[in-house]
């Protein structure tokens, strides 16, 4: 079988292949070890991590919708110190490319978190300014160009690691937000986080989610995510990482063709835990069929 080059660069970080797992959908990777070699993935983005532990929102936290699901987990996580002592050493020993998704309530908190994460074994940081499920912070940072510029610029001063900024789709003009992140020093842009949605129980006339609203993910959002990735890829020079409803290698290829240098697998991990590995194989097969030698030739190759 002809060898194809799956390597891609995200800032100074070289990924062995363009397939990452999305934050909040793959735990700390270790939960998925019975489904494949997690060090063979392009990388994993761990659960949104905060300075202090967070209990998360009250149940019900998930509900299925047409070809998708809503969640309002609320950034439940054991805090950065627990991550550093309980998960990072094992991930490092296994040789996993580990990207840490960071969430905070204030710019100061994001900066302190960034400092704590300057550790061997952390390959890159993903700045989460797009979580729809927490009251303070999260998405509030990601919906204004000035706030994005401020938080990205400040965080950048505290790290030499590649900084990926994860954008919310719940904005009027995603390209301007991406440009603000790039201008402030982002090394890459990942998008999209979930789309804000809700569901109602008509028998009780109550919201189904304990948090009333939640984030929509799954195949239902893929066309929206793809359009936004395409718009952002044209607006910035830094690499773009595409996500939103990727279930198959073909879905991933659509994002790459639209300009994504890498992709993240999210909700699909919940349904088919082996998806990320299948997507890697599927991308390689496609490259061979198309007579391409590197996945980089495919990035942004959309034809009109």
């Amino acid at each position: 079988m002809r060898q194809v080059d799956l390597g891609v660069d995200i800032g100074s970080l070289r990924l062995s292949n363009p397939v990452l797992t999305a934050s909040g959908t793959f735990g700390y990777g270790l939960e998925f070890r019975s489904f494949g070699d997690i060090s063979a993935l392009g990388g994993i983005v761990v659960k949104g991590t905060t300075l202090e532990p967070r209990a998360g929102n009250r149940p019900q936290r998930v509900v299925e919708t047409a070809a998708g699901m809503l969640n309002s987990i609320g950034l439940e996580n054991p805090g950065v110190d627990y991550f550093l002592t309980h998960y990072l050493p094992e991930l490092r020993d296994l040789g996993v490319t580990t990207i840490v998704n960071m969430a905070g309530n204030t710019v100061e908190e994001y900066c302190r978190l960034t400092e704590r994460l300057q550790q061997p074994g952390v390959a890159a940081l993903e700045l989460n300014i797009s979580c729809p499920n927490v009251k303070a912070g999260g998405m509030a940072f990601g919906t204004s160009e000035t706030a994005v510029y401020e938080v990205v610029g400040q965080v950048k001063r505290h790290t030499s690691l590649p900084l990926i900024v994860k954008l919310s789709p719940n904005v009027t003009d995603i390209a301007s937000i991406a440009q603000a992140a790039e201008a402030a020093g982002a090394d890459a842009i990942s998008l999209v986080n979930t789309l804000l949605g809700m569901a109602v129980d008509t028998r009780t006339r109550r919201p189904i989610l304990g948090n009333v609203v939640g984030g929509l993910s799954g195949p239902a959002i893929k066309p929206v995510a793809l359009r936004m990735v395409w718009q952002v890829a044209q607006a910035v020079r830094v690499p773009v990482i595409g996500l939103g409803g990727i279930m198959t290698a073909n879905d991933a290829l659509e994002f790459i063709i639209c300009g994504a240098s890498a992709v993240q697998i999210g909700a699909a991990n919940f349904i088919e835990p082996g998806t990320a590995w299948q997507v890697i194989d599927g991308i390689a097969s496609y490259l061979r069929e198309q007579g391409l030698s590197s996945v980089r030739e495919l990035v942004g190759s959309l034809q009109f």
Partner: protein
């Protein structure tokens, strides 16, 4: 370790207007499964419904390589499941979660299984293991109506004493299963209690357990996406604040471990 298994439907039998029993050829799963664990079935390879359906394991026969699931048709996924014919392939993820804590080898005594409606599902597999350990096992089974008291003969066949109650009095004593347990304890030694059923029933059992100093294990249901501890969707409150996760910390909990 959890894995996805290609199983085959052997039979899919309707037991009442909305309860079904699905027998699967699932050798690897049958060999690994422990009572109280669960599986996630994928009823369609398309995206609607998108998520897998969590179901407890009703029975398991490693010698025959079979797994039995008992389920109620409550939504799109379970209705689709009820239409599966013998010979169909079914994608099953499992075994998942922590099951019931069984008595140590050589431990004697008795066990009370407490079932509310379709909550009887995980208890047959458990009863089989208890009987193997020579534990004197009784099933107290409450349901809305006689038609919902499904699978009783399977318990009786392995030597479990079954007492029933229904809300409408159509079979057994008229009343709920907690009252039945309370009465039962007047004349029987309080052994271990293993329970599965609706939240109000489990909550009432927690109260009774405290009052009578019973050791009870509760099997919980929750809305969940992955079943693997990744999505954190299936949160259940724990005393002192914070949450446990039904999929990996449970689905079976000690009565004092959760706040329902």
């Amino acid at each position: 370790m959890p894995a996805t298994h290609k199983t085959t439907v052997i039979s899919n039998e309707q037991l009442s207007p909305n309860s079904w029993r699905l027998l699967l050829a699932a050798q690897a799963l049958a060999e690994q499964a422990q009572p109280g664990q669960f599986v996630q079935v994928r009823v369609t390879a398309t995206y609607d419904p998108l998520l897998r359906t969590p179901l407890s394991m009703h029975d398991c026969d490693p010698a025959q390589g079979t797994l039995t699931l008992l389920y109620q048709t409550v939504g799109t996924s379970t209705r689709m499941l009820s239409r599966l014919q013998a010979g169909t392939e079914l994608d099953v993820l499992g075994p998942l979660g922590h099951g019931f804590v069984l008595p140590e080898q050589g431990e004697r005594g008795s066990a009370i299984l407490l079932a509310g409606g379709i909550g009887v599902a995980p208890l047959l597999f458990l009863a089989r293991e208890l009987v193997k350990k020579h534990i004197d096992t009784s099933l107290l089974f409450g349901a809305r109506s006689a038609a919902d008291l499904v699978g009783i003969a399977d318990f009786e066949q392995i030597g479990v004493t079954v007492t029933c109650c229904t809300n409408d009095g159509s079979q057994g004593i008229s009343g709920n299963v907690i009252d039945l347990l309370d009465n039962y304890l007047q004349s029987h030694v309080a052994g271990r209690v293993f329970a599965c059923g609706p939240i109000p029933m489990l909550k009432a059992l927690q109260g009774l357990a405290k009052q009578r100093d019973l050791a009870a294990q509760l099997s919980l249901e929750a809305y969940m996406a992955c079943g693997l501890g990744a999505c954190l969707g299936c949160a259940v409150a724990v005393p002192g604040g914070g949450f446990a996760h039904v999929c990996t910390d449970g689905p079976v909990f000690k009565e004092s471990e959760v706040e329902l």
